[in-house]
Amino acid sequence: MSQLNVVRGLKRLIIKVLRVLEAEPGEVEIINTVILEEIDVFRIKPINELVGTLLTFKQVSELVSSIRPYESLSDVNAEELELYYSQDVDLIKDGSLSHVKMDIPHHIGARVAIESILQQTNSLENIRIEIA
């Protein structure tokens, strides 16, 4: 397993796509690393409990459907809203080439990124995904 590089309080979600090497038991090869700035891994359930673990493709597929915000949003107050939204995420909006800033809820940002990775890696074998 690769070394984790997580600092609590730093708003960042890292998703590593790894291939288990059959010839060398216990070893993995990093295929892709996606770093999502401003998305806080500790504000997303149940991802916050899975930081640093290697997950199979199937486990991650099941995880996507259960992603929800850490905070309960039944009675939203200003403080909770601050935690719910990531701040000023860079993105391409409405087909424009220039990036704009936008607030994306942490759990939605994580969900769509993981879905994109699953879509791209669904044909590969021996894949593990690590969330950091």
């Binding site: 770093i35 391409i92 409405d94």
Partner: protein, 395 residues
């Protein structure tokens, strides 16, 4: 209903047109082939979340797209009848007695396929879905970070150039627009206008496919000119004489597409360009026409073919936010921009809120409003109507 003439920016910013979480039905009406005020449902929109700055995230789900996909491949027209009963209702009202029901079913299947194709193209253009690009000699663009891209007419509307920029974020792309393509756009403007003046004819459903060439392609060309170094691929007057507009066969207009003569003019233009500039590498034709791409490859021209994923592969619907692994960034489309684009394709669209805070609210966007002035066309203004539906309509 309250009626306003608005630009996209005004539509986005005015408080009357802000959206809150809820479910909406999306419908279209088109005076060229449907009775007046007759709307056909084409999908649903689920608004999920609202950001602090009034942006919303939403799912779009085309109406029964899986079933329709089955129809297009297997020819089971009866399923179209179930999924699009309103088509039959409209056509039966308007068709003459000699029309056979089987012909109507066949046309309905074709129309459904055209609608899905246009929805697919719209979502690619807006970044909601991404085409997979099949590129000859991809390493050249990766390493040299340069390419001269000649855009086929379809690439001026289907979002292929936007996908290309997303794929090669740091490459210097020069876009060359063939004069033939601009002439085709001009011809199609005339064609759509003449069809529109002829009044409602059910066979005119094919205009849904052609209209974006008239309404969207000019806007896309403007966008390309703003964002890339751009030039026009000129042709010698001798060659231009062979340009073909829409053909007339036994007094009946044929649809002005797939004209091989015009494709030939583009290929010859590319060969001339390479000769004039001494460029053996880095010149690409981008086209979503498979046959044209194959022909170009046979003649030694490198091609970029955008393969767009089918809507039916998105089992949960298409979400308004996605993460692009190539560009390493999020890509988002606003609900306002999405509706704006659809109004350009269908001429007139309507959304009705069936649940949520805005239940009963009805919004209509109309492209061909009678008082549209030249500046309104240039600015891309639409007539936007807002009101509420009666309880009977909702039921």
């Amino acid at each position: 209903m309250s009626v306003r003439i608005l630009s996209l920016q005004e539509f986005k910013l005015l408080s009357d047109f802000q959206f809150f979480p809820g479910n909406w039905i999306l419908e279209y009406s088109d005076r060229t082939h449907l009775p007046k005020n007759f709307f056909i449902p084409i999908g649903s929109i689920e608004i999920e979340n609202r950001t602090r700055h009034q942006d919303v995230f939403f799912y779009f789900r085309p109406r029964s797209h899986l079933s329709l996909a089955g129809v297009s491949s297997t020819g089971q027209e009866s399923e179209v009848e179930q999924e699009f009963p309103s088509f039959f209702q409209a056509w039966n009202q308007n068709s003459n007695s000699s029309s056979k029901k089987e012909d109507i079913k066949k046309d309905s299947g074709k129309a459904a396929k055209i609608i899905l194709d246009q929805l697919n193209e719209s979502m690619t253009r807006l970044g909601l879905i991404q085409s997979e690009l099949e590129i000859d000699d991809e390493d050249f663009i990766e390493t040299r970070r340069f390419a001269l891209i000649i855009a086929d007419t379809n690439a001026l509307r289907d979002g292929a150039i936007r996908c290309l920029k997303e794929r090669f974020k740091y490459a210097q792309l020069w876009i060359v627009i063939p004069l033939v393509s601009l002439m085709e756009i001009g011809e199609r403007v005339a064609y759509v206008t003449s069809r529109d003046r002829d009044g409602c004819n059910l066979k005119n459903y094919a205009l849904i496919r052609i209209r974006p060439q008239v309404t969207i392609a000019p806007q896309e060309v403007t966008w390309i000119k703003k964002n890339f170094p751009t030039e026009t691929l000129e042709l010698s007057p001798e060659l231009l004489r062979s340009f073909r507009a829409f053909e007339v066969d036994k007094g009946v207009d044929k649809q002005p597409d797939r004209i091989s003569v015009n494709d030939r003019l583009i290929l010859e233009g590319i060969k001339n360009l390479r000769r004039e500039r001494g460029m053996l590498e880095g010149v690409y034709l981008i086209s979503s026409d498979k046959d044209f791409s194959r022909l170009a490859r046979l003649e030694g021209i490198k091609t970029i073919y955008p393969a767009s994923p089918r809507l039916e592969t998105f089992s949960n619907g298409i979400y308004s936010l996605r993460y692009s692994l190539e560009a390493q960034t999020y890509v988002c489309c606003s609900i306002h921009r999405f509706l704006w684009d659809l109004a350009h394709i269908f001429g007139r669209i309507r959304i009705r809120c069936i649940s949520g805070q805005q239940q009963g609210l009805v919004l209509e966007l109309f492209y061909y409003y009678p008082t549209k002035l030249v500046n309104d066309w240039v600015d891309g203004k639409l007539e936007v109507m807002i009101g509420s539906s009666s309880a009977t309509e909702d039921a």
